[in-house]
């Protein structure tokens, strides 16, 4: 189901919603106040571990014609790439570490080890996804423009191929993400500004050529120094590491908003939405998963998706402690707090993908109460058509993209 008014859905009064907003603001202020040396040490430690793993993996691949070295090298490189994307890149670009005042670990300068240019990611993710989370017709993360993820999205015969598209999306995730901010729907409708498109394509081309050059040309050629037989195994090890990172990040991200219980919203919800209602929408639209500390680090703390969506620019290492408080608030206001083990959360997302490949009449909804809404078109509005951005989702800037004042 999709919700057109979070207040009506939750049966909270204006005062209660405002009170919830104030309590979440207070939690935010508390964490902002207490950020300190231990947090800085955390991100620096993770960065050191990640870079050391990447070096160790790449050095090991100089012996990659020998199977155990291939396995060890690919594994270390894969783990390094996962850490780099999730706990480091994603979170640094949200501005979670900007408070340290360190230009080397800062959202405005960070570039990550994946095909999408950081600047475009900060627009499509920090702004569009985080501000318009789960609003049908606004948030392209709902199915990434190729999957039908909500019953309100109009069915098309092409949706029959969803199981295949899904598998392709998982394997090629970084390439899908690279195209994320292009807004393919706008290009198809010829509504995209050709100048913006040309600039974005230039950025993507440059980024991709550097990424491919590193993983599939220069490093493999270097490993010929210890024997030409290492070149091809090094290429396959790099493919494996990138593939592992793709599938893993795909799965973690699909657990964030698509398990049962994470709700979608219609455009009406955005009208006159207050900050407290924005908080509420983030709580209702996100889903956590449970696991040990290592799992949470490897998933960039996105197992605390609810906390991340409430406070996208607070340091990720603090989400665990914040989740205790957010859960208490959810109980206090009788709000859902969706969580479960990783396999179950992903299983539910996968079931939705499979079910929605068919027209609605063949399947039933897995949400608690069914309130079918009118169908929603594909694509998303341009920046000029949507409300201005809020500051807490992390920065982005691009002159090529029109920028409007904030309400």
């Amino acid at each position: 189901m999709a919700i057109s008014d979070v207040q009506e859905y939750t049966h909270l009064t204006d005062e209660e919603i405002d009170q919830l907003g104030r309590e979440l603001d207070a939690l935010r202020a508390e964490v902002e106040e207490s950020r300190g040396a231990a947090d800085a040490a955390y991100i620096n430690r993770i960065i050191t571990i990640q870079r050391s793993l990447a070096v160790a993996g790449r050095v090991t691949l100089f012996a990659s014609r020998w199977k155990p070295a291939w396995v060890a090298g690919a594994a270390m490189l894969g783990v390094a790439k996962i850490l780099e994307n999730m706990e480091i890149g994603h979170n640094v670009m949200h501005g979670q570490w900007d408070w340290m005042n360190d230009p080397e670990i800062h959202s405005s300068t960070w570039e990550w080890d994946t095909a999408q240019p950081a600047e475009q990611w900060k627009h499509s993710h920090n702004y569009i996804h985080h501000q318009f989370t789960n609003v049908l017709g606004h948030d392209n993360d709902v199915g990434y423009g190729i999957l039908r993820m909500a019953r309100e999205q109009k069915w098309h015969p092409a949706n029959l191929g969803q199981p295949v598209y899904n598998a392709l999306l998982a394997t090629l995730f970084q390439w899908g993400v690279a195209l994320h901010d292009l807004d393919l729907e706008a290009i198809r409708k010829r509504e995209k500004d050709p100048k913006v498109l040309a600039k974005q394509l230039r950025q993507i081309k440059r980024k991709i050529s550097r990424q491919i050059g590193k993983d599939y040309v220069f490093f493999p050629l270097l490993t010929a120094a210890t024997g030409p037989a290492n070149v091809v195994p090094t290429i396959t090890a790099n493919v494996t590491a990138n593939l592992a990172r793709n599938v893993w990040s795909y799965m973690i991200i699909f657990c964030g908003h698509f398990p049962d219980g994470a709700l979608h919203f219609t455009e009406e919800e955005l009208e006159d939405e207050t900050r407290a209602e924005w908080y509420l929408r983030q709580m209702l639209g996100s889903a956590n998963f449970e696991g040990g500390r290592l799992l949470h680090v490897m998933s960039g703390q996105l197992g605390y998706q609810i906390e991340h969506h409430l406070f996208p620019d607070l340091p990720s290492n603090r989400y665990a402690e914040m989740s205790v408080r957010v859960r208490e608030l959810a109980a206090k206001y009788d709000l859902p707090y969706t969580t479960g083990p990783l396999h179950r959360q992903y299983g539910q997302a996968l079931r939705t993908i499979l079910k929605l490949s068919l027209p609605n009449r063949f399947t039933s909804s897995d949400q608690h109460s069914v309130e079918e809404h009118r169908e929603v078109g594909r694509g998303r509005p341009s920046d000029a058509e949507r409300p201005g951005r809020s500051s807490q989702t992390g920065g982005w800037s691009s002159r090529g993209t029109s920028v409007r004042g904030t309400a």
Binding site: S52, M100, S108
Partner: protein, 357 residues
């Protein structure tokens, strides 16, 4: 130079292997000084000078240039509570092309949390960030024949760098140093200055302990240094002292021969044209003239602007320019590329601008 060219070629090639990071990001894992991305230095030792002042000896890392001009200052960024805080301090050591370390001398100010940290809390081995030497309060080469140094308190540090340079080069001209300090004990470098004065015939030292004898009345200069009007003068000390000196020299029509160290922006470039500044993330706007820096404008508009040294050396205040043009007050250079990182404390708007904050 050939070595440096080869190095930079190797770095460019290396960057293809480390993209999107820089080779230095990996090399600094081996030795924290092996990176030139953000200049770094390692604290070698902290030498107490007086009860509340200390000389901090720093070993700079890659990318440092040791050929600072005597009298210049450097920026130093120290991570306290996870956050980098920046200040600028005069270099007290003389420039050496083959140098390995630089020294700054810092007095712990009662309200100065970073200066207290530098004097009292820095362990040798700590890695700090550095900004290259800057400042126009420098010793000319060759030095003028007759000089006057008016020093108040910790204002001695840039002057010390000049005196040490003159001493080392053996080119001490006719120099008069008038050094005021509240008490004898708080006088930084008192032994060294006295020793220099003993050794160099051309160096005359006047010391004044202001707690006992009161502040220097500039009218008394006529009797202390009768030929002060013929001397090129350097003054460094607290702001009220500098204001008084500036007024005194101006009324004598001698501002051309006066050098002041104020730790403020040297506005050599032209101002901007002014315009409306729009702060994208906070949605705030303000219209300002061409003399108001982006930083000042943001503060007036109530935007939580980051700032550090406020004189363009520490880069703490740097923000991303989304659209428009700003002009650097120091150089007159204009920045008009989207995504340019601009130092808000030394730039003014040229027409309407949007910044990402």
């Amino acid at each position: 130079m050939a070595v440096i060219d080869r190095l930079s070629w190797a770095r460019t090639a290396g960057a293809r292997l480390t993209t999107p990071l820089h080779p230095d990001d990996y090399l600094s894992l081996v030795n924290p000084l092996w990176t030139a991305r953000e200049l770094r230095g390692r604290i070698e030792r902290v030498v107490p000078e007086t009860e509340d002042a200390a000389t901090v000896v720093i070993r700079p890392g890659w990318g440092w240039r040791y050929d600072h001009k005597p009298g210049q200052y450097v920026g130093i960024g120290v991570q306290v509570g996870g956050k980098f805080h920046w200040r600028s301090y005069s270099v007290s050591s003389p420039p050496k092309r083959d140098g390995r370390t630089i020294a700054i001398t810092v007095r712990a100010m009662p309200e100065g949390f970073l200066s207290q940290h530098l004097v009292g809390g820095l362990e040798p081995g700590t890695i700090v960030r550095l900004a290259l030497p800057a400042g126009e309060f420098v010793l000319p080469d060759p030095p003028p024949a007759r000089m006057l140094m008016l020093v108040g308190g910790s204002g001695i540090t840039p002057v010390m760098s000049m005196l040490r340079t003159l001493d080392r080069r053996g080119t001490m001209p006719d120099v008069v140093v008038h050094y005021s300090s509240t008490t004898e004990e708080r006088m930084i470098f008192r032994d060294e200055v006295r020793e220099l004065a003993d050794r160099h015939e051309g160096l005359t030292l006047h010391r004044l302990h202001t707690d006992d004898d009161g502040m220097l009345d500039l009218a008394d200069l006529d009797s202390i240094v009768p030929d002060w009007r013929e001397r090129e003068t350097w003054a460094c000390g607290p702001a009220p002292m500098l204001d008084a000196v500036e007024g005194h020299w101006e009324s004598a029509g001698l501002e051309e021969s006066l050098h002041l160290e104020r730790f403020t922006v040297q506005r050599d470039g032209d101002g901007g044209e002014g315009g409306t500044l729009h702060f994208q993330n906070s949605g705030k706007e303000i219209e300002v003239d061409g003399a108001t820096t982006v930083l000042e404008a943001g503060e007036q508009a109530g935007v939580g602007m980051p700032y550090g040294c406020r004189v363009g050396i520490c880069h703490t205040c740097t923000l991303t320019l989304v659209s428009g043009t700003v002009r650097d007050l120091r150089t007159g250079d204009e920045h008009d590329d989207s995504n340019d990182r601009v130092q808000t404390c030394v730039t003014v708007p040229v027409g309407d601008c949007t910044l990402a904050i």
